[in-house]
């Protein structure tokens, strides 16, 4: 039986190697890398529940929005409930909420729309009891798509807010 401490070290080590290229988050933030597939495979189905990798993979680091909307769906709220619980249990971390838009829109408007989305997520998490000072928001507008086709299949994944965990109680 491995001790919990060994498991934690292993998990962190695996998480880091999966993030080769730096702690680049979904956007340009300096956080623990997320993104699909990060840390998956290699028999690593389970992360330490207190790790940012667990947050990204198991809690779910992102929520999605309808076209030109910043309203949180029931599914998004469920994800954010879990995000808030995780942040409450792990007070040594803070987070940056990144708001994103799909490419169908003008640059400036999409920056403001991404800010609305990030703000909606942040407000919800704060309402669930996470200290305001632990969360910052940033908007990337349409500048950082993760899916690159020009159809709704991609757009629906790009209209997102991603909670990027970083070390430190606040910035």
């Amino acid at each position: 039986m491995t001790s919990p401490r060994t498991l934690l070290i292993l998990a962190v080590a695996m998480g880091l190697s999966a993030c080769a290229g730096g702690f680049r988050g979904d956007g340009a933030g300096s956080g623990y890398g997320s993104g699909t597939g990060a840390g998956a495979g290699a028999g690593m189905g389970v992360y330490d529940p207190a790790s940012p990798q667990y947050f990204n993979q198991t809690v779910g680091d992102r929520v999605f929005f309808a076209v030109d909307e910043s309203t949180l769906s029931a599914e998004a709220r469920a994800t954010l409930d879990a995000q808030a619980d995780w942040l409450i249990r792990n007070p040594e971390y803070s987070a940056i909420v990144e708001g994103h838009a799909d490419e169908q829109g003008t640059r400036e408007y999409n920056l403001a729309l991404g800010a609305r989305r990030a703000s909606a997520v942040r407000d919800y998490i704060v309402e669930r009891g996470v200290a305001d000072a632990r969360l910052r928001t940033v908007s990337y507008g349409k500048e950082r798509p993760i899916e690159i086709c020009s159809t709704e299949a991609c757009y629906s994944k790009n209209r997102r807010a991603v909670t990027v965990i970083s070390a430190g109680s606040s910035s």
Binding site: A28, T106, R107, E108, T137, V138, E147, S150
Partner: protein
């Protein structure tokens, strides 16, 4: 035989002087000129034989300057060059009499002749004359420009500007630059950096590296500084950059906020921009000398993309306060705003014409994007382009041409710069070495 005067008339007919409500927004009484004709103008045939090299070192430049003049004029779509191999006469001396019959024979309506001389210390002298061939007379005085050899393109553009203005009666625009965002890399990992170039794509230089995301550069009224949005700190902030020294500084750093969409006021001392706090984005001005900030809008809606009127009295901007993006005009000190866009779809990125009479904008409707223009009261809306994604118009210094970003669809999609006449004619790509977006056209250079 058609005279140059006939073409002048044709050009004049394509513009109609109208005094309209736009003049009120400007507080002006004079007539406004607006092109309303969509008809095709037959381009005016002209000849620009190689300029005469007055010394051995001037020979290459004499040919290149003539080429740039020809490209400037033909590039407007209003002129058609008669190529050199069709010329009968050779111009071997700048002051010899022009053989008008030789130019009439090939139907050259306008003839530009010139001479180039080099001097000590890299000095360059360029002179030119413009002739109305069928009237057998010069059109205006001959002109002479002096500069350094390295600025030969600018001197060529100055010749073109003089020719264009004399024939069309319009203000010139060739001696100008464009600042824009140069883009490399795949769509999901795009690298962006600021670059500046001549209006025709020549002499491109980078102004920033590609380490952090940069967006939407905008020239100061004197063309020496550029405002832009940078993610250098991890959050969008407005920077101001000196084009010559490439030194930059953050304009206004308020923690917990994001600032973007900056533009100079016509006096160059005030900046109007968007500031986001939480879910809300509003428009502010910042006095560059005192650092004093002033709030112009305060609704819970998204208010962004502000642009001053050329007299500095008004700001046009976009807001979704009605539910969708629409265009509004308010006083430059804020207060009540008047909506000016009422067509189908969404309207954004309004930019006031340097002439004061029109607003260029991006329109999104039924899955397509358009660049359009309208009067300052919202009347006479005209869409100039249509594509998967056109956005972000910027005006040529004379208010006759707009440049914008056109992005192609799909995984391999990339942006490029295009320009179009405000009549909707002469759509063309502006050459850039990489993908490019967010052009901003400088004023005419000094």
């Amino acid at each position: 035989m058609r005279h140059l005067a006939t073409y002048l008339l044709a050009l004049a007919l394509s513009t109609l002087a109208v005094a309209g409500p736009g003049a009120q927004a400007q507080g002006r009484d004079g007539p406004l000129r607006i092109e309303i004709t969509e008809g095709v103008i037959e381009p005016l045939p002209f000849a620009v034989p190689d300029f005469v090299a007055e010394d051995g070192r001037a020979r290459d430049l004499a040919a290149q300057i003539a080429d740039v003049v020809a490209a400037d004029l033909a590039g407007t779509g209003l002129f058609r060059e008669i190529p050199e191999n069709a010329h009968i006469s050779r111009v071997t001396s700048f002051d010899s009499p022009v053989q008008f019959s030789d130019w009439k024979a090939i139907n050259a309506q306008a003839l530009v002749t010139g001479a180039v001389a080099t001097g000590a210390g890299g000095r360059l002298t360029v002179k030119f004359r413009l002739f109305d061939v069928f009237a057998e007379a010069p059109l205006g005085e001959g002109l002479q420009f002096q500069g350094s050899t390295g600025s030969w393109r600018r001197m060529a553009h100055k010749v073109s500007d003089a020719v264009y203005s004399r024939i069309t009666g319009e203000a010139p625009y060739f001696d100008s630059r464009v600042v824009f965002v140069s883009e490399t890399g795949p769509k999901n990992d795009r690298r962006k950096r600021l670059a500046v170039m001549d209006y025709d794509g020549a002499n491109m230089q980078y102004l920033t590296g590609d380490q952090s995301l940069v967006l939407a550069p905008r020239f100061s009224p004197d063309g020496r500084r550029v405002l832009y949005t940078s993610y250098e700190t991890g959050f969008p902030r407005i920077n101001i950059l000196d084009v010559t020294t490439v030194q930059r500084r953050a304009l206004d750093d308020q923690p917990g906020t994001m600032s973007f969409a900056p533009r100079f006021a016509p006096d160059g001392r005030t900046v109007v921009f968007s500031l986001n706090r939480g879910a809300n984005t509003d428009i502010f001005t910042l006095d560059l000398a005192s650092g004093e900030r002033r709030r112009l809008t305060s609704s819970a809606a998204i208010e962004t993309a502000p642009s001053f009127s050329p007299d500095g009295r008004f700001v046009v901007f976009e807001s979704d306060r009605s539910g969708t993006q629409q265009l509004y005009i308010m006083s430059a000190s804020g207060g009540e705003a008047r909506r000016i866009s009422f067509g189908k779809g969404r309207y954004g990125t309004p930019v006031w014409s340097p002439r004061g009479d029109m607003i260029a904008f991006t329109k999104q409707n039924a899955g397509r994007f358009h660049i359009g223009v309208m009067r300052t009261d919202g009347s006479e809306e005209r869409l100039l382009t249509s594509s998967f994604l056109d956005e972000g118009p910027t005006w040529a210094p004379n208010g006759r041409v707009v440049m914008f970003t056109r992005e192609t669809a799909g995984a391999g999609g990339a942006p490029a710069l295009y320009s179009v006449d405000i009549s909707g004619r002469n759509l063309k790509r502006v050459p850039t070495p990489n993908a490019a977006s967010d052009p901003n056209w400088s004023p005419l250079l000094e």
